[in-house]
């Protein structure tokens, strides 16, 4: 279940946000607090999640306190899908 969520997001981040398609992002790697995902790209991530999983992440949730790695993001998405 979690892999089904993590894999496409990791791919999206590497290809579209970082523009490094071969980059592997581990599930516990900090994304926001590390500065890996630029604030200008947070919206792209939210829109991708909405289009792919039908789950909304609000703009007030686009911060490291709400999720900071793929595991946490996947948990957030799963909790809203059900």
């Amino acid at each position: 279940m979690t892999t089904e969520i993590i894999t496409p997001i990791a791919k999206f981040i590497a290809e579209k946000i970082l523009k490094q398609p071969s980059k592997v992002i581990s599930a516990d790697e900090p994304l926001i607090s590390s500065g890996l995902i630029d604030s200008f790209s947070l919206m792209d991530l939210a829109l991708f999640i909405e289009d792919t999983f039908g789950v909304r992440v609000e703009d007030t949730e686009l911060n490291a306190e709400t999720f900071d790695n793929l595991n946490q993001l996947a948990a957030l998405i799963s909790s809203r899908k059900s």
């Binding site: 523009k19 604030s39 200008f40 919206m43 007030t60």
Partner: protein, 560 residues
């Protein structure tokens, strides 16, 4: 001649109940501040500065986020006659040690006596202080005096001379010496009078809506000092909220009948690409009479994108305007006339590139589009000069020189920099441009400078940062900007020669460069290319030839 504190006093007496600023915070109700609220809040800080023994003319650095504290701390310093300067707050993108180093460097040049910040941030600020430096007070926002009726007889700022320095704007260099642009009351007020006349401002009907940060001239002057001092209501949201929800700008314009906004070029593309229709339901943009493109090279395609996306919501094409501005002239130098759309000058590319002349296009040869930045303000004179400071004719490209009654007093504590920038009373901008039909076309920059999302970055700073990464050949790094049509701004490319030729090791080095440069400069890198030795082209004198390397990079990209 009046001063900033005089204007505040007048507003307090004449329109205490008028709304000055509506502060917006994501997830909170909007907070309107009347002039009474504003000046009462500012007075609390002015009393605190007096309590701490801060004298008029001393520099007070404000390290605060968007919100009431920042507004009050700033205007409090003005009422007290101290010189406030707003600094960016630490973000996740920047390494704290780098932030401290920048702050220490700024302290050593600007010599502030006081820093205002939050209790939670005190340790960070103290980490930047050194034994024997100029800072005597770190004032925390939980130690501010209680609210009382302001006493304009005792407020020191009311005694300021119009020639005194009232504010400092720090330039946004990534490393190296920071320059504080020192502006007098007279300069600020001359700019606001001239600019508001050009924009035909009517405080009874105009409303400025802004998400711009206050540590940058566009947000600071056009979207903070001007509205507060001229009593134009301001709707102010945080840049952090806007970047996560750009539609909030449009919603605020609709809700408050906003009329004026300033944006850097990238923001037009950002809004056009990222705002979804569902966030625009019921939004009416018909009151928006000017959205002024400033602080980055203007691309007319960005205006078209923006208009194409939002015309369905009542956005008028004539609202899309341009301006050429700099902190050294307080703000605006030129402004496009608000009754039409900015002129687009189509010129011959070849003549422009080789002879530095903007001439009519020739059939069958490539042309290029230049967007006008408009006419000089009524109080501003412009010259286009060659290297020897001789005037150039119309349509010849040269350096833009500016003279006005709203120029900087000096670069604060930097007589060397002041002397280098001002020649015979003319400020040499370092920008290239030409004049045609009385309008200014800005075409490039004298020094290599990359403007990413409205932020200035010097390539040599990025190159020296990348050189610090293990495995990179010291000094064999080149950085340059590349315009990205999709994003509407320049993106940073770094090419570095590695000691290793193994692809996996080169990839690891590329990763390390990204991390290190971003954390040290708060600039995200779009392309990092690690190459074998001898890839980078140098001039005969051993300097890195940025444009030649850029050409080589683009050629290789095209071949892939």
């Amino acid at each position: 001649m009046t001063t900033l504190p005089n204007l505040l006093q007048r507003s307090y007496h004449e329109s205490p109940d008028k709304t000055s600023i509506i502060l917006q915070h994501a997830g909170q109700a909007d907070k309107p501040l009347t002039y009474r609220d504003l000046i009462h809040g500012a007075n609390r800080f002015a009393l605190t500065y007096a309590r701490e023994g801060i004298k008029p003319g001393e520099v007070v650095i404000l390290i605060l986020q968007h919100g009431e504290d920042l507004v009050y701390a700033f205007w409090g310093a003005i009422l007290h006659g101290a010189i406030p300067s707003i600094m960016p707050f630490l973000t996740e993108k920047l390494a704290p040690e780098k932030y401290r180093a920048d702050l220490s460097s700024l302290i050593s040049i600007t010599k502030p006596t006081t820093i205002v910040t939050y209790p939670e941030f005190e340790a960070e600020v103290r980490g930047a202080l050194t034994e024997g430096d100029s800072v005597k007070n770190v004032i925390l926002t939980d130690t501010i005096e209680a609210e009382t009726e302001p006493n304009f007889e005792t407020l020191q700022g009311l005694k300021s001379s119009p020639e005194a320095i009232t504010v400092l704007q720090h330039s946004s260099g990534t490393t190296g010496l920071q320059k504080g642009v020192a502006l007098s009351h007279r300069a600020v007020l001359n700019q606001l009078n001239a600019y508001s006349e050009t924009l035909r401002i009517d405080p009874a009907s105009d409303v400025i809506v802004s998400w711009l940060p206050l540590y940058h001239d566009m947000g600071f002057i056009a979207c903070f000092l001007m509205p507060v001092l001229l009593r134009i209501p301001l709707v102010n949201m945080s840049p952090f909220d806007w970047v996560r929800a750009p539609y909030k700008l449009h919603q605020a314009v609709s809700q408050y009948k906003g009329t004026l906004t300033w944006l850097p070029n990238f923001a037009y593309n950002f809004c056009a690409h990222k705002i979804r229709e569902r966030n625009l339901e019921g939004v009416d943009l018909s009151t928006w009479r000017a959205i002024i493109n400033c602080s980055e090279p203007v691309h007319v395609e960005s205006h078209d994108l923006f208009h194409g996306k939002f015309s369905a919501y009542g956005l008028k094409k004539s609202a899309l305007q341009t301006c050429y501005a700099m902190a050294e002239n307080v703000f605006a130098v030129t402004q496009s006339p608000l009754d039409g759309t900015p002129v687009v000058d189509v010129i011959d590319r070849e003549t422009f590139m080789t002879q530095r002349l903007a001439t009519s296009p020739v059939a069958d040869s490539p042309s290029m589009q230049m967007t006008s930045s408009g006419h000089p303000l009524p109080n501003v004179k412009i010259r286009i000069v060659d290297e020897a400071f001789n005037d150039l004719p119309n349509r010849s490209v040269g350096e833009i020189a500016v003279q006005s009654d709203c120029m900087l007093t000096e670069y604060f504590n930097r007589p060397d920099a002041t002397e280098a920038a001002i020649k015979d009373g003319w400020y040499l901008t370092g920008d290239y441009g030409y004049i045609a039909g009385g309008e200014l076309y800005v075409s490039g920059r004298k020094k290599d400078l990359i403007i990413v999302g409205g932020k200035n970055v010097y390539p040599q700073d990025l190159e020296s940062l990348a050189s610090e990464v293990d495995g990179v050949h010291k000094g064999r790094v080149v950085a340059f900007g590349m315009y990205d049509e999709e994003e509407g701004t320049e993106e940073v490319v770094i090419i570095a020669e590695a000691e290793s030729t193994i692809p996996s090791e080169q990839e690891a080095i590329a990763d390390a460069i990204r991390k290190h440069v971003t954390k040290s400069s708060a600039i995200a890198l779009r392309h990092v290319k690690v190459v074998d030795e001898k890839w980078i082209l140098k001039t005969s004198s051993g300097k890195t030839a940025r444009s030649a390397n850029k050409e080589k990079f683009l050629k290789e990209l095209g071949e892939v």
